[in-house]
Symmetry: D3
Subunit: 246 residues, 6 copies
Amino acid sequence: MPRFQDRALDELRPSLIERDFTQMALGSALISVGKTKVLCTASMEDRAPAWLRGSGKGWVTAEYSLLPGSTPERSGREASKGKQSGRTLEIQRLIGRSLRSVVDMSAIPEIQLVVDCDVLQADGGTRTASIVGGFVALSDAINRLIDMNRISKRALIGQCAAVSVGIVDEIAMLDLDYSEDVRADVDMNVVMTSDGKFVEVQGTGERTTYSKSQLDDMLSLAEHGISYLMDLQNAVLSDPPKPRSK
Amino acid sequence: MPRFQDRALDELRPSLIERDFTQMALGSALISVGKTKVLCTASMEDRAPAWLRGSGKGWVTAEYSLLPGSTPERSGREASKGKQSGRTLEIQRLIGRSLRSVVDMSAIPEIQLVVDCDVLQADGGTRTASIVGGFVALSDAINRLIDMNRISKRALIGQCAAVSVGIVDEIAMLDLDYSEDVRADVDMNVVMTSDGKFVEVQGTGERTTYSKSQLDDMLSLAEHGISYLMDLQNAVLSDPPKPRSK
Amino acid sequence: MPRFQDRALDELRPSLIERDFTQMALGSALISVGKTKVLCTASMEDRAPAWLRGSGKGWVTAEYSLLPGSTPERSGREASKGKQSGRTLEIQRLIGRSLRSVVDMSAIPEIQLVVDCDVLQADGGTRTASIVGGFVALSDAINRLIDMNRISKRALIGQCAAVSVGIVDEIAMLDLDYSEDVRADVDMNVVMTSDGKFVEVQGTGERTTYSKSQLDDMLSLAEHGISYLMDLQNAVLSDPPKPRSK
Amino acid sequence: MPRFQDRALDELRPSLIERDFTQMALGSALISVGKTKVLCTASMEDRAPAWLRGSGKGWVTAEYSLLPGSTPERSGREASKGKQSGRTLEIQRLIGRSLRSVVDMSAIPEIQLVVDCDVLQADGGTRTASIVGGFVALSDAINRLIDMNRISKRALIGQCAAVSVGIVDEIAMLDLDYSEDVRADVDMNVVMTSDGKFVEVQGTGERTTYSKSQLDDMLSLAEHGISYLMDLQNAVLSDPPKPRSK
Amino acid sequence: MPRFQDRALDELRPSLIERDFTQMALGSALISVGKTKVLCTASMEDRAPAWLRGSGKGWVTAEYSLLPGSTPERSGREASKGKQSGRTLEIQRLIGRSLRSVVDMSAIPEIQLVVDCDVLQADGGTRTASIVGGFVALSDAINRLIDMNRISKRALIGQCAAVSVGIVDEIAMLDLDYSEDVRADVDMNVVMTSDGKFVEVQGTGERTTYSKSQLDDMLSLAEHGISYLMDLQNAVLSDPPKPRSK
Amino acid sequence: MPRFQDRALDELRPSLIERDFTQMALGSALISVGKTKVLCTASMEDRAPAWLRGSGKGWVTAEYSLLPGSTPERSGREASKGKQSGRTLEIQRLIGRSLRSVVDMSAIPEIQLVVDCDVLQADGGTRTASIVGGFVALSDAINRLIDMNRISKRALIGQCAAVSVGIVDEIAMLDLDYSEDVRADVDMNVVMTSDGKFVEVQGTGERTTYSKSQLDDMLSLAEHGISYLMDLQNAVLSDPPKPRSK
């Protein structure tokens, strides 16, 4: 069964990042990966979380949400249900950990940077797209705070990106769309930094188990895709961000 | 004090509606009014709300949310707080009532159309922009359901749009942006149909009271603005919607 | 179809305010409008809301509730459901805004006055009755605080009252009871001050739309009814409140 | 230290029951015990609770609430906090069990009677006043349902009432008001039926413990007070209830 | 109908207390009464509850939970339902009041001792077992805090224990197991101190009422059972607790 | 820095599984890994989750909780906070997925097996201990249901176990205790089946990133530890479970 639009097994869907899609938050990026679209914004809060106050350190956290109209079958609004699902909480914890891996917490003292990832359209890979776009929003926010002399220049200590890989019908493939994801035997999300190291590897065999060699195949595909996405991030970020009036 | 970019007192901010900004929901529109941007989607649920079942009627409802990064000061996410604010509930009740005024509930039997209005960027007038954009999304959803022979042709019985007006420094003006809204003595939201009738008039004197003649002035301004926005809706909707594969 | 007990179109239902129905709160009034009965109490809290602290200003807020046994069909208790409905929140926001229009916030520094409106029996018009009775409770609370030298004499800067009007079978009428309300095409709540100005106008065409001339007719009826209710408030408040031992 | 208004140790506060204080619910009573005022209403729901359906039996339950303005220091509204306190839940469980002791559940098949006890003014003894007034409301509701041929004539199988007793400064006394309750070493609530049997005995030594002879003294006082309150119930209920139009 | 394993009417089920079953909390006891098993732990929190701060006093509180797998029919997890039942809150209030009766709050200044009672297996009598085991955990926690010079030596001012009694088929009996509890006409929980005084008496006639002489019979049985359980507590606590490394 | 009690880098802590520690649920196991103790129970619910009904399939799910007294610093009770943390939800999703990998859902039609993992004492590795002990409880529950002819014999299709591995001070080691976990640069949880395949690999570099060769080292250690734990499971399960009376 060929992939949609004859995509190769190691080929990403067409991907695009629109910088500053909105302009209220300190950083903003609309990332599209195939039909998946995620609006990522990075905002600053003047207070670190309670458990960190007085430590001289700051924090980076993330929140994630599927807009109700982002899916063919409308997904219920968590705000009206009164609680976030386990899936949502698990995803936002992953995004937060990933982004923290490239920020020096002692360089953003007593503040918190919050990266909001709101999925406008969902077609698989929303959590990894959130990390890729979230990094762009976060990077711009940090650079604007540096320009405003709010934080030190060494706050951003690396670059990170993420991609999903999986095994469908016993074949490892890169960047599953939704129709592939529901048929997948194994689903894996990989987050890496620009020095080729892993931040997160989360591989789940929901329908079947997987061998060590399959794991290795998936990690190779992921490395390949992440490298491409980092080029995309770098292209978007090549100019310094425009100053925010605020 | 002149308005931003020397806007006239009876002039709307530059407004734009992007039809089918997303393509999972049955209808979708991204409306921009100045810096305010709202993504409106219309989805169908196969079941009417419980209190209506078996009546042979359907229902139209709306949900509204500010994305956390839509404001200069990040606004907390209601899903993580575990409840929607009174402001949110009040706004979504207004949007729902307004859109129901142009739909024949007996022509959409036993289904529910849900219009989600998610504010990507907030600079005043988000609830009225939601009604204007929500109408476009709803209209497309209804026409697609007609094309799919799911509902009868006479479901959409009118056109509605909305605008805010207010009194700032004793002067009535159309379409307040956020900086005007916070200085306003009186804030009024008006929803009308294309036959020049009112669906909703909500005028609040938060800082001062207002006279009958001020009320009349504001209603005239509103009528003028709504007429313009209806032209915009008609231009966007002039072609029939493209079929959804779903 | 004649009104109950042959009431005229511009006639209020028999209305009565019992001052000091309870005596724990600083002010208390039981208002009856036809069968509708609302117990309004005004209490003082020593702290202004968090967002106002240190500003030298105080605040007035309102809470509203239908007692479960107030309706022929028992209405569920919001405390046991764990959340207040959109209707409740919308109503208490309206009552709070209305009562704030007659209080000088800088004259009640760093305190909060809370007006609780608990509906003992509901037969239409509960939100407007709450405003009428709430004003009496608030006025007594403020005057008692003045007598106790807790706040300055100029805290109360006006008088407000409210009434509902509507269009039933194409006829505008004053003060709808429940049986009229469910048949109404248009329902409007109007809040005014004693100088004939509007605090709030909220007109909703749930079943149909309405023209400008119908709007004007409803506003005239409302002005007439509010004038009567202000006389009733004045009669009740003609003597100074008795001191509270507290 | 003498009691307020030189009340004897075995003397109830002045008590009054106003039947049909409201007229929407099937039964209604406003009970005053000293300054304590509780509005009790009894409503019918057409469905028994889920766990009982199909058993041929019905159920009686109670809900209790302090109105925020019922106390000198305003008590927070549980509906806005989003949960009921342990105290509230404990009290309403007690009221429910007490009232169930006098109803034959098989005589009210597949329905639920809900007794709402809303405290308009709180000065001690609100839970026992709720039982006394709740019985009157429930009795009227049951008799009206019998008149409407909804339930069988033998549904009400007894009469119950309740009173608080306590030990203050080592002295046992009947019917503690709030000022006595806060000083009490031991606080006991007793619920009895008209045949002199106990439904509930709940004695708590919050500040100190108590001996068997002190327990016996308190039970004697309680029996005396309950006998008086049953006479009051009987006087109020001596005529049959007026028919409800509903 | 004889009792399980021919137990006499005034005989407790086999009871056992394992001290220090876990070792993270300051005190820990696993109590078994027949098949009922409750793990009780006592922990210290460095801050008194808000309403007590600055008073120089401390507080003792309790929390109670049924593990979902503790009952033959799995009981839902309250954490996932999002609220604790009325039963849970009522029980933990009882345990807390009981344990506070034997602690001098001024001897544990500005701290809070929390006794957690988690039911691993439920076969009747879980609330009274929690009090018996909770006392052991609390006693060890207090003695360890004394050894660590955190609190004064006179914090523990008594010993308390509890048992259930009831009337089944008109016969009073001690320590009901679950099968007896569901058939019981009257269910009573009694908490006493070692000087033979009552802390709590809670007797409920859910299915029938009870006479004064039946009450007296139940209290005698309870006194007998509590005396035995106090011996068990004393045996377990005869040696001083081993030091905690923490 | 040597490990506690000179444990080797590839050595598990002393581990023990007590089968049938409680006897109400269909399966029960108390697992100890070092000081970590988790009580796992498996219960049956007669209905599959709503989304599965009518499919002829069943479901296996898990719930996880830390008892408040399981940690040196008392952890707050999620039931009283009213929501489960993201950590809790993430862990119980992991346990559920892992256990589902060894059950054939079509062999347990229209029922749900719930595995509750309640941590009595927490010293690192609670989620992996929950999987190891949860498998034992689940296996016994399934075998008892087979004995009761409730489900088919082929429901259990494999064996699974789990362990944590990590990198501390640049050294990979097996089965981190809490003191190691807080110092770890990388933390990884691995779930495998008895045929040497992976169910889950979750590796997180919270403090630093990790290379492919470090990943491989950790996976080797995990395979070694899991093999030992599977022997332990097999030893415990070598006899068939005793019948449950229920």
